[in-house]
């Protein structure tokens, strides 16, 4: 399968090379340029369907000495690398008649890797009905993504959405089933716009059960204000499963090239699940304060810098995290000496908390991207740094995106994880990763 992918990619490259060369011969005369624009080209239909297909090859280079590698594989995995081929199809459709709109986005992922062979996953990312009786009012019912907060990589105030993938913060997310409304009011004066967005999210065994074990109606709201050229949101959420929380965010352009944004949230009675080096567990209850402060800067050379500092009040301290690693270390020793998996298994029960992204307290995120370097239009190289300030470990991700033809995007991405022993990025399963993808929209 991987050979098929390599061949396909090579084929795409050849097509692109010759396609570009061919276009040079045929399309460089402005005499042929069609400057007529007939409105029939974009005549609106009540329905629309769009899709994108992505072929992706991921090569992971294992860090066999890493504790999370030992936790997952013990001594069962002999290979140093793992290959995975993904075929990812997303279909999006909508139907609009007067003030009623139906919308759906569906994703199907087919993948092949050495461990699982061929597998597939399907999910409904969004599907909802929207009722818009006026420009000020809208009501939505169904599975919908509510993305709140101003952070690029982190979003402490995104109360009603699933966590972002730090490796790909722009990726689409799967929504939750909810009922929501939107009221917008514009006015003259300093306060130019207000908007109120209440959200109701039922949790029971049929829908949204992944949120928590208790049946309940989670509800909350966001209040948006636009004044003094600044966006400000206040938000809250009331829930037993997710803990009550209140938040605020803002965003403003300080200069044409410099934007500042921030998110903050208080999570009341947050329960932090802790495990020590002996496998003893405890629960710590406190009000957690999460916040983020970020800048986005565009230089005169068209380089964009996104810098964010994130304080994760729900995160673990360096000592707590080190204890977790010590437990895995002892568990692996126990297994190596006696084949007893007790301690490793105990550590695994806490992996959903400790092994999640940004599980500690203080992070710096920096993404630098350059638009159209070397006079190559639609080419964007970028590099991303994620730095764990608590244990000085880091991840570095260089990547290149190129869109040489309409609706076609090529991406080459690598990731390197750096850190001492018993640090977050130093103990990840992979020490490096290479991703090559071709995405086509139609």
């Amino acid at each position: 399968m991987r050979h098929v992918f390599v061949l396909l990619t090579a084929w795409f490259m050849i097509v692109l090379f010759y396609g570009t060369a061919f276009s040079q011969n045929t399309d460089n005369s402005l005499i042929d340029l069609d400057l007529e624009f007939k409105i029939e080209e974009v005549k609106k239909k009540p329905y629309s369907i769009n899709a994108d297909i992505e072929i992706k090859e991921t090569i992971r280079f294992f860090d066999r000495n890493a504790l999370l590698f030992k936790q997952k594989y013990l001594d069962e995995k002999k290979e140093d690398t793992a290959w995975q081929t993904d075929l990812d199809l997303t279909i999006e459709g909508q139907y609009q008649k007067d003030f009623i709109k139906l919308y759906g986005r569906f994703n199907g992922l087919f993948y092949y890797n050495d461990d699982e062979n061929f597998e597939s996953e399907r999910k409904v990312e969004e599907t909802y009905i929207s009722f818009q009786p006026s420009f000020s009012w809208a009501f939505d019912a169904g599975k919908k993504v509510h993305k709140w907060g101003k952070g690029y990589a982190f979003s402490p105030s995104a109360f009603f959405s699933r966590p972002k993938d730090l490796d790909d913060p722009d990726a689409t997310l799967e929504g939750y089933y909810s009922l929501s409304a939107d009221y917008i009011k514009s006015m003259e004066g300093v306060l130019q716009t207000i908007a109120i967005t209440p959200v109701f999210m039922p949790v029971n065994r049929d829908i949204n059960h992944e949120i928590g074990p208790k049946d309940e109606l989670i509800w909350g709201a966001k209040f948006y204000f636009f004044a003094f050229d600044t966006d400000v949101d206040f938000m809250f959420l009331l829930s037993d499963n997710m803990d009550d929380r209140v938040g605020i965010d803002f965003s403003k352009n300080l200069t044409p090239s410099l934007e500042i944004h921030g998110d903050a949230a208080l999570v009341k009675d947050y329960h932090q699940y802790i495990i020590d080096a002996d496998g003893n567990t405890s629960v710590q209850e406190y009000t957690a304060f999460n916040f983020l402060l970020g800048l986005r800067y565009l230089s005169s050379q068209d380089t964009t810098y996104i810098l964010e500092y994130y304080r994760n009040g729900q995160g673990y301290s360096p000592r707590e995290y080190e204890n977790y690693f010590s437990l895995i270390e002892r568990g692996f020793e126990q297994f190596s000496n006696t084949s007893d998996k007790t301690l490793i298994s105990t550590s695994k029960t806490y992996s959903p908390y400790y092994n999640q992204q940004a599980a500690m307290r203080d992070y710096l995120y920096l993404k630098i991207s350059q638009k159209d370097p070397f006079d190559i239009l639609y080419f964007v190289p970028a590099i991303t740094f994620i730095y764990n300030m608590n244990d000085q470990s880091a991840s570095i991700t260089p990547q290149m995106t190129y869109s040489p033809l309409t609706n076609l995007t090529l991406e080459f991405k690598t990731a390197f994880l750096l850190g001492e022993s018993k640090t977050e990025y130093g103990e990840k399963i992979n020490k490096a990763k290479i991703i090559l993808s071709v995405q086509y929209y139609f």
Partner: protein, 243 residues
């Protein structure tokens, strides 16, 4: 002596019309001739690279007042559903995948190519610029415009206007350093109906993008009453519904 007096008198009279011209009033008139106060339009943006490679974007836009404009991309498929909003100096981009508006700047370009966001989300020139000087030329006027605030894409703009139609035919855009950023050429004047007569094509080139060309083709420019609420972050993902 009599001859000298007549020459001086003629010179004074010929100078009077130029002194009497109010550049800012002309600029406002140019704005209104370019588009109605509240309107909708379709635009096709074409980027052409030096090797002839062409990329097209089609967008539907609405504008209200001097400084509110919103657009949604209709094609290509990779950009479909992306929308932009500008209120005064504030600009946002909504990408369906990202699911929330993010702030962007006037110097960036949501499409790539020579046109930047300020060109694509153009508000009235009189909202951003004061006319500091006006010159009478053979077939019209040249307005020398200076930005009212610092946070605009071009510090100064030189606008050449056809005095009969009161429409621009060339605009030169300069950075604060005095460097020429780009030229905009307004061509193909077309009657869109209901009194809207304006250039249907803007061509641009730039010394910063040597051998690159970009065009904006206009279609269906027509007056439309629009609610203020449309020009808000919460409405950005619904702009397509206005078509």
């Amino acid at each position: 002596m009599k001859k000298i007096f007549i020459i001086i008198l003629l010179g004074l009279f010929s100078a009077i019309p130029a002194f009497a011209l109010d550049g800012n009033e002309i600029l406002k008139q140019v704005d209104r001739n370019l588009n109605p106060e509240s309107f909708e339009m379709y635009r096709k943006l074409i980027n052409i690279e030096p090797d002839g490679t062409k990329k097209e974007f089609v967008m539907f836009s609405i504008k209200k007042g001097k400084d509110k404009i919103a657009s949604v991309f209709l094609s290509p498929a990779s950009e479909k559903g992306r929308s932009t909003l500008r209120i005064g100096d504030n600009m946002w981009l909504y990408i369906p995948n990202v699911g929330k508006p993010i702030r962007i700047t006037s110097l960036q370009s949501v499409t790539g190519g020579v046109f930047n966001n300020s060109d694509i989300m153009r508000v009235d020139y009189s909202a951003e610029y004061n006319c500091e000087k006006i010159e009478t030329i053979d077939n019209g006027y040249t307005l020398y415009l200076k930005a009212k605030l610092k946070n605009v894409a071009y510090e100064t703009v030189t606008m050449s206007i056809d005095s009969e139609k009161l429409l621009p035919y060339k605009i030169e855009c300069y950075a604060a350093s005095g460097m020429l950023i780009k030229n905009l050429y307004f061509k193909n004047i077309k009657d869109f109906g209901n009194g809207v007569v304006r250039p249907s094509l803007i061509e641009t080139d730039s010394p910063l993008y040597k051998d690159y060309k970009s065009y904006i083709v206009f279609a269906n420019v027509k007056k439309r009453d629009l609610a203020d609420e449309i020009f808000s972050l919460n409405y950005m993902h619904k702009i397509d519904g206005l078509r």
